[in-house]
């Protein structure tokens, strides 16, 4: 039923699973490194998980330069929506 979920919901679910955090912590402004306990290795793995989940929307991979800018939950959702709409 993944098709019926919003991009925000799908992003949140990945973060909850990968970082083992509570759903309530995953607010749009939450920073992976500062608020959600991630380290640099976690962020690499998160980007890989987003690429897998949003293969259709992103139509490829997230370039390194883009990945570096994705530091909060909201930035990821916005990025994917922009790619999907493009």
């Amino acid at each position: 039923m993944a098709d019926h979920k919003t991009i925000e919901q799908r992003v949140k679910e990945i973060i909850v699973k990968q970082l083992n955090v509570n759903e309530e912590q995953v607010t749009p402004s939450a920073s992976f490194l500062d608020d959600l306990g991630a380290d640099s290795l976690d962020t690499v793995e998160l980007i890989m998980a987003f690429e897998e989940e949003f293969r259709e929307e992103i139509k490829g991979e997230i370039p390194e330069a883009d990945a570096e800018k994705l530091q909060t939950v909201g930035q990821v959702s916005d990025y994917i929506k922009a790619k999907a709409g493009a």
Binding site: L19, N20, G37, L41, V44, E45, M48, E52, E61
Partner: protein
């Protein structure tokens, strides 16, 4: 530093130079942790061992049908996330799970409270013979199937054999001597021996030491089967590991971890700790003979055993029990018996020898860890765990008292524990009642 020699010249493989005993601090065992196919803590494990319980079954984690050996002593009903932070569990290999959780059990058992300790003087030495085999294998599959960009950034931290020691240090914030150590199937014994030395020479007051292994994987089975090293008694798994028996045909893989908390005697006494026994002697040696086959004369092992006993300030006749390497391979059990007979002479027929690998399987780098736990429990309880499945001793090569089938009550003052690894490395430890 003043040194004194208590060794004696020997021409039969005990070495041409005498052993040197340095005046040094005594080291005692104050905590035990164990995770094996026979139980998820040291007490369960020991109870199952003295009951003569076989831990070997048909392998469940993967379909073993294509493999020549289809049996193993797996840790079942195990969810690492129940015992450690789920995020840390996900980021680490199964071998680290076992070692980390067993280390926590050992520290809890010792009653040590790290808040009251000088954390610069607490170290960790947990070895693994192979390291993160699951991680290695699963990520190689990712590379082959999905390409390099999908390989996990946690691959290297998970698979390196020193990560378990690092994880335990992070857990307790202890900054003392810390590394992994590798000598194949002798790893756990070397780790405990080197940790003992670390305390003796004054580099730490407390060491968390032992071995951890999780190599029941398809790749590991394929590779060990290719060597014809593993038992093919697939129709009777519980009877596949049969050290010293005429029908033995190879080792059976086990998995898990065995960890000890070691302390200087003064440190343990100062905090009023319960002291199980002393780690009194340790020696390491090499066969310098063949990559995998033990020396048919048992010279390397003889050297390790004799030096460990001398380092402990004992004579061979003081040893009451040997926890043998006893892998259930045709060569090991024959040559180990020969080495014991050469060193102990007439006393070889008086002492008890058993191979607990008949129940636990062979935990490779963790063998020395769990067998050290067994050695300590033997002294504590006055019970010797048996060699199960020893229906017909392989005479005349295997003719010692191997404590067949059932445990035996006996006052044990000193235990010798042997482990040998591919590469020809040998380690012997002597545990002594205090």
């Amino acid at each position: 530093m003043q040194t004194q020699s208590t060794g004696q010249q020997q021409q039969d493989g005990r070495g041409s130079r005498p052993v040197v005993r340095e005046p040094s601090r005594r080291v005692v065992v104050t905590g035990l942790g164990a995770i094996t196919a026979l139980g998820h803590d040291a007490e369960q494990f020991w109870a199952a061992l003295v009951a003569g319980t076989p831990g070997v079954r048909r392998v469940q984690r993967f379909d073993p049908s294509p493999f020549a050996s289809q049996v193993g002593a797996e840790v079942l009903d195990w969810d690492a996330a129940q015992h450690m932070d789920p995020k840390e569990a996900r980021r680490n290999d199964r071998y680290t799970h076992f070692g980390f959780v067993a280390a926590k059990q050992a520290v809890a058992d010792s009653g040590l409270v790290m808040d009251g300790e000088d954390r610069d003087r607490v170290g960790v030495m947990i070895g693994s013979g192979i390291g993160g085999m699951y991680t290695y294998e699963s990520q190689l599959a990712v590379l082959a199937e999905r390409g390099p960009r999908r390989v996990s950034p946690f691959t290297i931290p998970s698979l390196i054999g020193n990560m378990c020691s690092g994880m335990v240090a992070i857990e307790y914030g202890v900054r003392g001597p810390n590394f992994g150590l590798v000598s194949a199937c002798a790893t756990g014994s070397h780790a405990i021996g080197e940790a003992m030395h670390t305390i003796q020479r004054g580099d730490a007051d407390v060491m968390i030491a032992g071995g951890s292994e999780a190599a029941i994987t398809p790749f590991a089975y394929a590779t060990f089967c290719a060597m014809k090293a593993m038992s093919e008694h697939n129709d009777e798994p519980a009877r596949a590991s049969r050290p010293f028996d005429r029908a033995r045909d190879g080792f059976v893989m086990g998995e898990g971890a065995g960890i000890l908390v070691l302390e200087s005697l003064e440190h343990a006494q100062a905090r009023g700790a319960r002291i199980y026994c002393e780690v009194a002697g340790y020696a390491a040696s090499c066969d310098a003979f063949h990559i995998t086959q033990p020396d048919p004369e048992g010279r390397g092992l003889l050297l390790a055993m004799s030096r460990a006993i001398e380092k402990a300030g004992l004579a061979p006749s003081d040893i009451d029990y040997i926890n043998a390497h006893g892998t259930s391979t045709p060569y090991n059990d024959k040559f180990e018996t020969l080495a014991i007979k050469k060193l102990f002479g007439a006393h070889a027929q008086q002492l008890a020898v058993s191979s607990t690998k008949s129940m636990t399987g062979h935990l490779l780098g963790a063998a020395g860890g769990i067998e050290s736990v067994i050695s300590v429990k033997t002294i504590q309880t006055g019970t010797i765990a048996p060699t199960i499945n020893l229906d017909e001793p392989d005479l005349p090569d295997c003719d010692l008292d191997y404590v067949p089938h059932t445990a035996r009550a006996k006052t044990v003052r000193a235990v010798l524990s042997n482990n040998l690894g591919f590469g020809g490395q040998n380690a012997a430890l002597v545990f002594k009642a205090v």
